[in-house]
C-alpha cells in the first residue's frame, strides 16, 4: 500500500498543484539523515509491537530541536486516535534517558501519513548525531488468515507491513527483524537473499540509502493458536470512601475475540472432546487476573447476574482471580462482564499535609489498569469517585495521553455530591499496565460528619412531624 502511494506520489503532487493551489501538504524538511536503523517487529503478542533504534544526524546548517515521526494512515486511521497504542521516543544523549515529548503533528493525506512531532531533549547542532529509540504498539493490525477456521483448527495470523521503516528522512542503512513465537512463521515474503531465517525470527536487510517515505510491502503469516482478546470498552471505577476506609474497584468489560471466526457453527461435542484432549484453542476459555495485595470481596457478574464459574485465590500477598465466561468465546463472539473487589484504603492513600483547620491533603495512588493481560483495549474510561465534599487539587499520571472530565455524582444519601474524575484513554495494551495514577485532593474530617447530621436531622424532622400531626384533631364533629 505504502509503496503504491510512493510510486504514485509525483502524480498526486501534480494533481495537488492543479486542484489545491493554496496550501501544499506538509512534509518535514530534510534536515536529518538516519544512520544504522534497526527495527524489530514483535509478533509474539495478540497486538503488534514495533521498536526501532537509530542514529540521527543533523545535515542542515542550523541546530534542530524538532524531529518528525511518520506513521502510515492505515494504523492511525482517519481519527487522531486510530489504532496506535504506544508512541514512545527516547533520546540517549542525556543521562538518565528520558521519554521525549511527542505531539500529534499534521496529517498528509497525499502520502497517507500522520506525522508526530518530537521535541528533542536539547537542540542538535549542525553535523551532530544522536541515538534515538522508538517504540510503538498497534492494536487491530494483525488479521487472521484465513478468516474462517474450523473449530479445532489452528489459527494463522497475517502481518502486513513494510520491510523499510517509514521515515520522513533519508535512511542510510537499515534492517528489519520480525520476532516470532517458538512456532516460527509458516509463510513469509521472500526476495533474493531476504530474509535470514532463524527459529524465532526473520531478518530483512540490510538496505542502503532508502529515500524518504520509501516502503516495500512484506507479509508474514505465522501460527498463533491463542485468542485475540479485544476489549471494545472498559469502564473502571474506583470509589474512595474515607468513612469506610475502603477503596472499591468495579470494572465493566465489553470484549470480543478478534481471532478467526468459525467456518461452521459451534459444536459442543467437538469442544468437549478437544477440552478433554487438552488442545489449545482460539476460544477464550477464561482469564486470570492478578490483583494487588489485600484484595477481598471479589465478584464476577454479567448483565443477567452472578457467574458462578470463578475462583478467587485469596492469598494476602498475591491474590489471583481466575474466572471463566459463561461460554467459550470463539472468534467474532462477544461477551461482557463486571469484576469488582475491595481494598483497604490505607494501602493506596497517603496524607500529604494536615492543617489545623481540619482540611487535610491526601494523595491517592492507584494503577491505571488492573485487568487481564495480553489484551488490547479500544477505549478505557477510568473514573475515580472521591468522597463527598473532597476537592481535587491535582491529577497526575505517568501515562499522559488521556482526556479528563470532572463531574458531580450524588449517591448514598449525598446532599453536596462527590467529585468524579474520569479519564478516557484510547488504544491501551499491556505496556500501559505499569502506569500509575496520582490524585491529590483535600478533604476535611469535619465534612465526614456532614452526612450523619443531615440524615439524623431528616429522621428527627419526620418524628416531630408525626408527633405534631398525631395531636391535630381533624374530626368534623365531636
Amino acid at each position: 500500500m505504502a509503496s503504491m502511494i510512493y510510486k504514485a506520489l509525483p502524480l498526486y503532487l501534480l494533481l495537488l498543484v492543479v486542484v489545491r493551489s493554496e496550501a501544499a501538504a506538509f512534509v518535514p524538511s530534510s534536515v536529518f539523515e538516519i544512520q544504522n536503523l534497526f527495527r524489530t517487529v514483535d509478533l509474539t503478542k495478540s497486538y503488534l509491537r514495533e521498536s526501532a533504534s537509530f542514529i540521527i544526524e543533523n545535515i542542515s546548517e542550523e541546530p534542530q530541536n524538532e524531529y518528525y515521526v511518520a506513521v502510515p494512515s492505515e494504523i492511525v486511521g482517519n481519527a487522531t486516535a486510530g489504532h496506535l497504542a504506544i508512541m514512545e521516543v527516547k533520546e540517549k544523549r542525556v543521562d538518565p534517558v528520558v521519554s521525549l515529548a511527542v505531539e500529534v503533528g499534521p496529517f498528509n493525506a497525499d502520502l497517507g501519513v500522520q506525522f508526530y512531532k518530537v521535541q528533542l531533549s536539547k537542540p542538535l547542532a549542525a553535523g551532530e548525531t544522536s541515538t534515538i529509540q522508538m517504540a510503538t504498539a498497534t492494536i487491530c493490525a494483525l488479521e487472521a488468515q484465513p478468516k474462517l477456521i474450523k473449530q479445532p483448527e489452528a489459527q494463522n495470523l497475517l502481518w502486513t507491513g513494510s520491510k523499510l521503516a517509514l521515515s520522513p528522512y533519508k535512511v542510510a542503512r537499515q534492517r528489519t527483524k520480525v520476532k516470532l513465537s517458538d512456532r516460527g512463521a509458516n509463510a513469509y515474503s521472500k526476495s533474493k537473499d531476504d530474509p535470514q531465517v532463524e527459529d524465532t525470527a526473520l531478518t530483512y536487510g540490510p538496505y542502503l540509502d532508502s529515500k524518504p517515505f520509501a516502503a516495500e510491502t512484506i507479509q508474514v503469516r505465522y501460527e498463533y493458536h491463542f485468542p485475540v482478546v479485544e476489549v471494545t470498552k472498559l469502564e473502571r471505577e474506583l470509589w474512595v470512601s474515607h468513612s469506610g476506609g475502603n477503596l472499591a474497584t468495579e470494572e465493566r468489560y465489553w470484549i470480543t475475540n478478534s481471532a478467526a471466526k468459525l467456518s461452521e457453527t459451534f459444536s459442543r461435542l467437538r469442544w468437549q472432546a478437544s477440552g478433554m484432549a487438552g488442545e489449545r484453542s482460539t476460544a477464550i476459555k477464561g482469564f486470570s487476573v492478578r490483583l494487588r495485595p489485600g484484595a477481598r470481596d471479589v465478584y464476577f457478574t454479567d448483565e443477567i447476574g452472578n457467574v458462578s464459574t470463578s475462583n478467587f485465590r485469596a492469598d494476602i500477598r498475591d491474590p489471583v482471580l481466575d474466572f471463566r465466561p459463561r461460554y467459550p468465546i470463539f472468534g467474532g463472539w462477544n461477551y461482557s462482564f463486571t469484576l469488582g473487589w475491595n481494598h483497604d484504603l490505607g494501602r493506596s492513600l497517603k496524607v500529604l499535609s494536615s492543617e489545623d483547620s481540619g482540611s487535610d491533603t491526601y494523595m491517592l495512588r492507584v494503577p491505571l489498569l488492573e485487568g487481564p493481560d495480553n489484551v488490547a483495549y479500544d477505549v478505557a474510561e477510568v473514573s475515580i469517585i472521591l468522597p463527598e465534599a473532597a476537592n481535587v487539587v491535582d491529577i497526575f499520571s505517568t501515562y499522559r495521553y488521556y482526556e479528563k472530565e470532572e463531574s458531580l455524582l450524588k449517591s448514598h444519601l449525598d446532599t453536596i455530591g462527590r467529585t468524579v474524575v474520569r479519564l478516557t484513554l484510547n488504544n491501551i495494551v499491556d505496556e500501559h499496565r505499569r502506569h500509575e495514577l496520582y490524585i491529590t485532593y483535600t478533604y476535611s474530617s469535619a465534612s465526614s460528619l456532614h452526612k450523619p447530621i443531615i440524615v439524623s436531622a431528616a429522621i428527627a424532622a419526620i418524628f416531630f412531624a408525626w408527633i405534631i400531626l398525631r395531636r391535630i384533631d381533624v374530626s368534623i364533629s365531636k
Binding site: S267, R326, W333
Partner: protein, 762 residues
Amino acid sequence: MVLLPSSIPPSAVQALPLLKAVILLTIAGAGIASRLFSVARFESIIHEFDPWFNFRATKYLVSHDFYSFLDWFDDRTWYPLGRVTGGTLYPGLMVTSALIFHTLKALTLPVDIRNVCVMLAPVFSGLTAYVTYLFTTEMKDEGAGLLAAAFIGIAPGYISRSVAGSYDNEAIAIFLLMLTFYLWIKALKLGSAFWGALTALFYFYMVAAWGGYVFITNIIPLHALVLIIMGRYSNRLYVAYSAWYSLGTLASMQIPFVGFLPIRSSEHMGALGVFGLLQLVGFSQYIRARLPSRQFKVLIMVATVGLLSLGALAVVGLTFTGVIAPWTGRFYSLWDTGYAKIHIPIIASVSEHQPTAWPSFLFDTHMLIWLFPAGVYLLFQKLRDEHVFVIIYAILGSYFAGVMVRLMLTLTPVVCVCGAVALSTILDQYTNLATPETTGEESRDGESNKDESSTSLLNINGLARAPIVGIFSPWSRVVVMGSFLVYLCMFVQHCTWVTSNAYSSPSVVLASQLPDGSTHIIDDFREAYYWLRKNTPQDAKIMSWWDYGYQIGGMADRTTLVDNNTWNNTHIATVGKAMSSREEVSYPILRKHDVDYILVIFGGLIGYSGDDMNKFLWMVRIAEGIWPDEVQERNFFTARGEYKVDEQATPTMRNSLMYKMCYYRFTELFGRQGAVDRVRNQRIPSPTTDSSAAPIQLNTVEEAFTSENWIVRIYKVKDLDIFGREHAAAMAFEEGKKKGGRAIRGPSSGGHGKSKARVLRV
C-alpha cells in the same frame, strides 16, 4: 391482651404497644428472613418464568414514563403479531416497584432495579403479616391477631409465591387482598363511608395488581347477600357496600386491561346485582317505616318477584346478545376440573392449574389445616357480621384451592386467621388462671403454670387439691399446652424445611450435589440466553416452546414467537406443529415466521426432567387441536401405547423436528456403551453400537449453540439454498462430494470437515 392477667402494673400496660410493635416487627423479620433462602444459596435473581416478564416490564416502566408504559406495544414478543402489553397487563406490581425505585433514587441510594424487584415479595409479606394481624384482631382479639400474623409470616402456602425473586403479581396481591378485607370489615362495623372509600381505594390497587381481584369482587357481594338473607340488613351495610361498590367499580375501570369488564362480564354481575338488591332493600326499609304492614307485605312480594325475575332475564338476555361477555375458559375450569383437559389443552398443560392433591394441603399449611375447621366452628359460635365473612371466605377458598393448585394461595390467609382464632381460644382457655365459678374451688397450680406461661408466677397456691382429670385440672393444662408447644415447634420446623427445600429454587439456576457434598451450580439456561444476547443480531427471532418466552425476552433480549402470556392459542399451536412435524413440513412454517433460531431444552444428558421431550405431548395436543389432520397424538405413541424415544419410537416421533433437535449428535457423546437418556431411562439408537441405526441428520437447521450440560440447544434455521434446491438434496449433494473427496485422499484422512475447507481454499 388476653394472655396477660389483669393484675399487672400500669407501667407494663403502657409498655404493651411497644411489646406488640416488637412482636410484629419480629414476625415481619422472620417472614422476610425465611424468604431469603434462594438469595443466600444462589444470588439475587428473578425466579421462574412469569417474573421475568414482570421484571422486563418494570425495567421498561423505569426507563420510560408512565403513559408510554400504558401505551406500550411490544413488537419483541408474539412475532409477527406483537402484544399490546400496556393494555394487557396488571400494572400494579410494576408501578409499585418503580415507585420504590424512584423514591430510593431520589434519596440518592444506588440501588439496582433488579434488587428492588427481588426483594419486593419478602417486604410485602412483612406487610401482609401486619394486615393479617389487624384483620384477625377484628375477628377476635389482639392475641389471635399476633398468632395469625406469625402464621401467615411463615406459612408455606403463602411463601410458595413470595420468596425473594418470585416477582409476580401475587407478591403484592395477598397483602392487598387482606388489606381490602380488613378495610371492608372495618367499614361494615362502623358503617362508615370513609372506610368504604378506603376499601374501594385498595380494591382499586388490587385490581391494578392481580387478576384474582375477581375473588374480592364476588366475596364482598356474597357477604352482603348472606347478611341480607340472614336478616342482618343495616344502614351500616348499606353505606359500606354502596361506598365500596360505586367507587371501587369506577376506579377499577381505569385499569386499561379491565376497562369495561366490571359492567360487561359475567364475573362482575354478582356485585352489580347485590348493589341493586341493597338499594331495593334499603328502599323497602324506608317504605316500611311509612306504610301499614299488610300493604307493605303485598308490595314487597310483588316488587321482589318482579324485579328479581326482570334482573335475571336481563342478565341472561344480555349474555346471549353478547353485551355481557360469557364466562371464560379459565373460569369454567374452576367449576369443572375436567373442562380444561377436554377443551383447552393450553390451560391444562400448566402444572399450577391442576387440581390440588390432598397431601399438598398438609404440605402447605401443616397443623393449621386441622385447626382451620375448628376456627370456623368457633366463629360459627359467635357469628357476628364479620365472622360470616370469614366463613364465606373459608368455604370459597377451600373449594377453589381444591380445584387449582395455585389457588392454595388465596386459601392460606383464611387458614391462618381461623387457625389463629382456634389456637388463641385454646390458649385463652388453658392459660386463664381463673376457674369457672361452677367448680367452686381454686385450681391454680403454680408448678404447671410455670411451664405454660411466665405470667403465672404471680399466683402460687395449693397444688394437691386440684383434680387430676377434667378441663380445669393442672395436668390437662400441662398436656394441652405442652402438646401445642410441640405442634408449634413442628410447624416452624416444617415451614422452614418446606421453604428451604421446595420453594426456594430459582429454577433458572439449578443446583446439584457433587459426590463430595459440595454444591455444583448448573447454569445452562443463562449460559445459552447470554450467548443469544451477545452473539445474535438484535432483531433475531427465536422460536421456543412458550414456557421459555418470558425468559428469552428477559435474559436474552431477543424477539420470541410465543410466550407465557398465552393469549393466542393458534400461534402456540403453530409452534407446536413446527416442533412436532417433519423437517419438510416445519421449514416453510419457520420461514414464514422469520425464525432465525430455535431453542429447545433437553435434559437427557444430566437428567433434568422438566425438558421439552417431556412437554412434547402438550405441543402435539395443542397442535392437534388446530390441525387434527396433520398432527395426531396417536402417532407419537408406540403400538402398545407407550411414550418411547428409544429404538421402539414411532417414525413420526423419530422424524419430528423436536426429537431430532434434542438427540442430534447426542449418541456420539457416549461411544461404545451406548447412549442413555437419563430422564426417560431409555437407550437412544446409536450408530456406534447398533449398525441399523442411522445418525440423526438435520437438513434445514444447524446446531448453533449447545450449553455445557446440553440442557439448552440452539439451532440456526438455514437460509434458502442458493441454487434453489431442497435442503435434503443439497445436504446429500454435499455429502456425496465429501465422500468423493475422501475416496481420493484415502481412508486415513481426518474428519470430513477438512476436505471441504481444502476445497474452499483451492
